[in-house]
């Protein structure tokens, strides 16, 4: 089987006050291994909810999500935690770094073990963080923090990397740099990357572009050629 993730009729309902609100409706998707998938859509279209259920942070209320042959929609919280540790990494829009730890320690948190120092050094080299390894998180700029979050996410070599608005709070130069890293990691490690963004320019770096609207898949398009992140239009 060539599919990495397959969803069938995924739905998600929330209670807003006494009213039920459907954030996702009948989402059926297939993602292949090593693909870069970009999920686009305006605010409130359900793209972050989709990322949350795909990454197991949130549970679906209907439908199934398969990772290869594993149906994660039936997983318990504990099983999901184990699964996430092994297969998934997430890069959050607000970085979500641990402020008490320095750059090096934050990256190390991604793996949870002291082993593999050469790997960390390599990733820090790749993401130009080597000279900042002892820096406290508060001392870093937004771009640098996002790079630490990326380093943390890729250290454990996940099968799937979820990126929630990875460039949302960055300027064009830094945003493009981050995207370049993501593409580079994808090519180097063959990691499936799912990016959620409202920036249509980013869609050009993906193999698959999914446009969401009001909790449904509005359109799904497969691109033939990925564009170099440095030349994509911004915003």
């Amino acid at each position: 089987m060539n599919y990495c993730i397959r969803t069938t009729n995924v739905g998600k309902e929330y209670l807003v006050g006494k009213e039920k609100r459907k954030a996702l409706k009948e989402i059926s998707l297939d993602f292949k291994k090593g693909e870069i998938i970009v999920i686009l859509g305006p605010s409130g279209s359900g793209k972050t909810t989709l990322l949350n259920v795909l990454s197991g942070i949130d549970k679906v209320t209907e439908g199934t999500i398969y990772y290869e042959e594993k149906n994660i929609s039936t997983f318990s919280e504990r099983q999901m935690t184990k699964f996430r540790k092994k297969y998934i990494s997430i890069i959050f829009q607000k970085y979500n770094l641990l402020e008490n730890l320095n750059v090096y320690q934050n990256i190390l948190m991604g793996k949870g073990k002291e082993k593999g120092k050469s790997e960390i050094n390599e990733i820090m080299d790749l993401l130009e963080l080597k000279d900042k390894r002892r820096y406290q998180i508060k001392q870093l700029s937004g771009g640098e923090q996002q790079r630490v979050a990326i380093a943390r996410a890729i250290l454990k070599k996940p099968k799937v990397l979820f990126c929630d608005e990875p460039t949302g709070s960055l300027d064009e130069r830094m945003g493009k740099k981050i995207l370049k890293y993501l593409v580079m990691i994808n090519e180097k490690e063959n990691i499936t990357i799912i990016i959620v963004t409202h920036n249509p320019g980013i869609a050009l770096i993906g193999d698959k572009i999914i446009l969401m609207k009001e909790g449904t898949i509005y359109s799904e398009k497969t691109t033939k050629i990925r564009m170099n992140p440095e030349i994509i239009p911004w915003g």
Partner: protein, 752 residues
């Protein structure tokens, strides 16, 4: 490892809160260790001392017929007995107990601390406490009974562990009371009131008990809890026995009560530490819920995250517990000195017991871990998606309140909503201010409890009470009061009937309102009881009391209650008491200002009111010292608690405070809106504590009245209430002052 580091760094960020928790643990384990270790060492020392010095199990009064009985019973009951002699002398306000020293003493062997025992005439040993107070060294000469003796040693009499010379002077005064050993020959030469008794020592060790009951026939009552030592039939049991038992066994009673106090303080402080940790953790988890969410999102299991949070109790208990143990070990020798301050017991030398280190680590860890565990579990079990979202502060119920209070001005509305949002903190502040208020009220009531007792009891203008060996009829002076004192029993307890003349100089009976009620005794079967009897037996004016005075059981009408509070006394007209025992004009006490009665042979002893007052005052000072210590402790704890909570409030509302500052609110206004919301709760707690404490004190004193020979009058004036309130506010506002300093120095961007 990284998780651990993360928590450790968080602790570093919360220095003040961590320090306060450690301080509480340090105090609780320190107090617990010091008291228990001191008691352990002392108890061990005490029992070894009893064994080594072969201290008597029981003492009985001397009578000519008893020697044969004892001889007969000693082989049956396996005990040894020995005659004990002592003489009492009073010279220049000093009380001396003179004992003959013999090498072959079997029971109550004297304990030599320094020097040697007297071997020749003109030699003596004395108490080291007395010698120290008067600068007496070995080899110095000291004069008693108009004769000089060379001090050759410092020694204790082992049956005088609590040096009770007589029941009228219940508290030991080391500068006034001295126990002296001289050679038997010298002892014979010394003039003084002699006491002869038999000391009995069982071969098989028996537990000592102090609850002694004598029935109407003057026999020891057996029954539930009655001990083997009292099953000795045929031996008269006298007041002398009770006094001797108090001298030897009073310390034992303190062991139990002090252990109870130590455990109470440990658990109280541990409970408070757990409350602190609970609040600190809650606050920390609120701050870190997002971080926990991140960790869970990164794939860390809940149990793994939970374990990392145990570093907080481990660290606090590790530091607080170990330091507390060593602090307790350091403190225990001082405590021992305080404990044995009123006792004559050689000081022990070792002060270590690792069992207490284990207790100091185990119990606090269990307490703290429980609160930490449940709170962390409460947050950790939540879904990742929920943890990653910002916390919603305003609950649904609050939105109704918002609407309800919308008619009020903004600052009032703000305070109300803010108050409701911090119910947990309010609860804790209220509980602790209630506890502190209880202590304040206790201290305010207790501070002059003994003064009132002295004033109410010894307000008469006579200086001496002269006791006669038997009932006399000869009148010496018309300026003195002649009293006939007879003991009787009521509900199995001894009470004293004092026959007084209705026309007298010094013995006017006054009630609580200071109204003279002496003349009420003119009625034939009338009696007046004192406050202690009223409290002890729940009696009131108008009740009838069935008493046996002079062999005949009669009902007596209570016509009044006097305000005196020491001793169980019933007053009756002397003439009628004399009639009860078929006498005319009999008396056995004189209340007088005349010192010349001392020369009479027929007197047994003279009590000087000023001595009794001084004796009581000394104890009052100790009691005040104890109250001051409690007050300082509780005020410090109250201060730390408030500081801790306000610190958390400032921390939690950093963003809000910064925002208010940006909007132009002054520090004073912010302080009013954020930190002064607790004032009404302090007031409620304080005013609620007043009736509660008065009730507790009344119950406690009623209990004490049953056990002791005192009764107390509780007074709490509005001035005292105001002082208490002022004390609470001083602490509260000094904490506010410190907290205000914290947010005055807050950098506005920190709120982000």
């Amino acid at each position: 490892m990284m998780l651990l580091l993360n928590v450790l760094k968080e602790i570093k960020e919360k220095k003040l809160q961590t320090i306060i928790i450690i301080l509480f643990l340090f105090l609780s384990t320190g107090i617990y260790t010091s008291i228990n270790l001191a008691l352990d060492v002392l108890e061990n020392q005490y029992y070894q001392y009893l064994k080594k010095q072969n201290v008597e199990d029981i003492s009985v009064g001397f009578s000519s017929s008893i020697e044969k009985t004892l001889k007969r019973l000693s082989s049956q009951n396996h005990f040894d007995y020995e005659v004990k002699l002592s003489k009492e002398i009073k010279e220049k306000n000093y009380y001396y107990k003179i004992l003959p020293y013999q090498k072959n003493i079997r029971i109550n062997k004297p304990y030599l601390l320094k020097g040697r025992f007297p071997q020749h005439k003109d030699e003596m040993t004395m108490l080291p406490q007395f010698a120290r107070k008067h600068g007496i060294q070995l080899g110095d000469l000291y004069s008693i009974d108009k004769k000089e003796y060379k001090v050759v040693g410092f020694a204790y009499a082992s049956d005088y562990i609590y040096p009770l010379f007589h029941l009228a002077l219940p508290f030991y005064e080391e500068e006034k009371e001295n126990i002296i050993y001289v050679t038997p020959w010298e002892y014979q030469m010394i003039k003084g009131e002699e006491e002869i008794s038999y000391s009995i020592d069982y071969q098989e060790k028996v537990p000592r008990a102090f609850a002694v009951k004598i029935n109407d026939k003057g026999e020891i009552e057996e029954g539930e809890g009655s001990l083997k030592i009292f099953s000795l039939k045929g031996i008269p049991f006298t007041l002398n026995t009770l006094e001797r038992m108090t001298r030897i066994g009073k310390l034992q009673l303190e062991f139990a009560t002090n252990r109870l106090l130590a455990s109470f303080l440990l658990f109280l402080l541990l409970f408070l530490s757990s409350c602190f940790l609970f609040m600190a953790t809650k606050h920390q988890l609120q701050r870190e819920r997002r971080q926990i969410g991140i960790l869970k999102a990164l794939g860390y299991s809940s149990s793994f995250i939970l374990i990392s949070y145990f570093v907080y109790p481990i660290l606090c208990v590790g530091i607080g517990g170990i330091l507390g143990y060593y602090f307790g070990t350091f403190l225990s020798p001082f405590l021992i000195k305080i404990f044995v301050g009123s006792y004559l017991l050689p000081l022990p030398s070792t002060f270590h017991n690792l069992v207490y280190l284990k207790i100091c680590l185990f119990f606090p860890f269990v307490f703290l871990s429980f609160s930490q565990f449940f709170l962390t579990l409460f947050v950790i079990h939540k879904k990742v998606i929920f943890l990653l979202q910002p916390e919603k502060h305003i609950k649904k119920t609050f939105s109704y309140l918002h609407r309800f209070f919308s008619i009020f001005p903004f600052s009032f509305r703000f305070r109300i909503i803010f108050t409701i949002r911090s119910l947990g903190k309010i609860g804790l502040i209220s509980i602790f201010s209630f506890l502190s208020s209880l202590f304040i009220i206790f201290i305010l009531v207790g501070i002059d409890l003994f003064d009132i007792l002295l004033k109410q009891t010894f307000s008469a203008s006579y200086q001496n009470i002269v006791y006669f060996n038997q009932i006399e009829t000869k009148r010496y002076s018309s300026r003195d009061d002649y009293i006939l004192s007879l003991d009787t029993t009521f509900h199995g307890n001894t009470i004293t009937v004092l026959g007084i003349d209705v026309i007298n100089h010094y013995s006017r009976l006054k009630d609580d309102k200071n109204k003279d009620i002496t003349e009420k005794l003119e009625e034939k079967n009338s009696i007046i009881i004192n406050r202690l009897i009223k409290q002890k037996y729940s009696l009131k004016q108008g009740d009838f009391l069935s008493l046996t005075i002079g062999g005949e059981k009669k009902y007596y009408h209570i016509v009044g209650i006097t305000k005196d509070m020491v001793g169980s006394y019933i007053y009756r007209k002397r003439e009628y008491v004399n009639e009860d025992i078929n006498l005319v004009g009999g008396y056995n006490q004189i209340r007088t200002n005349d010192n010349s009665y001392d020369r009479l042979n027929s007197i047994s002893q003279t009590y000087h009111i000023c001595d009794i007052k001084t004796n009581f005052k000394k104890e009052i000072d100790r009691f005040r010292l104890f109250l001051s210590f409690i007050m300082i402790c509780f005020f410090s704890l109250f201060f730390f608690l408030l500081l801790f909570i306000t610190n958390i409030i400032v921390e939690e509302n950093k963003k809000l405070i910064c925002l208010m500052k940006v909007f132009g609110y002054s520090d004073k206004k912010i302080e009013k809106m954020v930190l002064r919301i607790y004032i009404p709760f302090l007031l409620i707690s304080y005013f609620l504590a007043i009736p509660c404490m008065i009730f507790l004190i009344k119950k406690g004193l009623h209990f004490l009245a049953q056990k002791m020979n005192f009764s107390f009058l509780i007074t709490l004036s509005w001035q005292k209430i105001l002082i208490g309130l002022l004390l609470i506010f001083i602490i509260y506002f000094s904490v506010l002052f410190l907290s205000k300093k914290i947010f005055s120095n807050m950098i506005l961007l920190k709120g982000e």
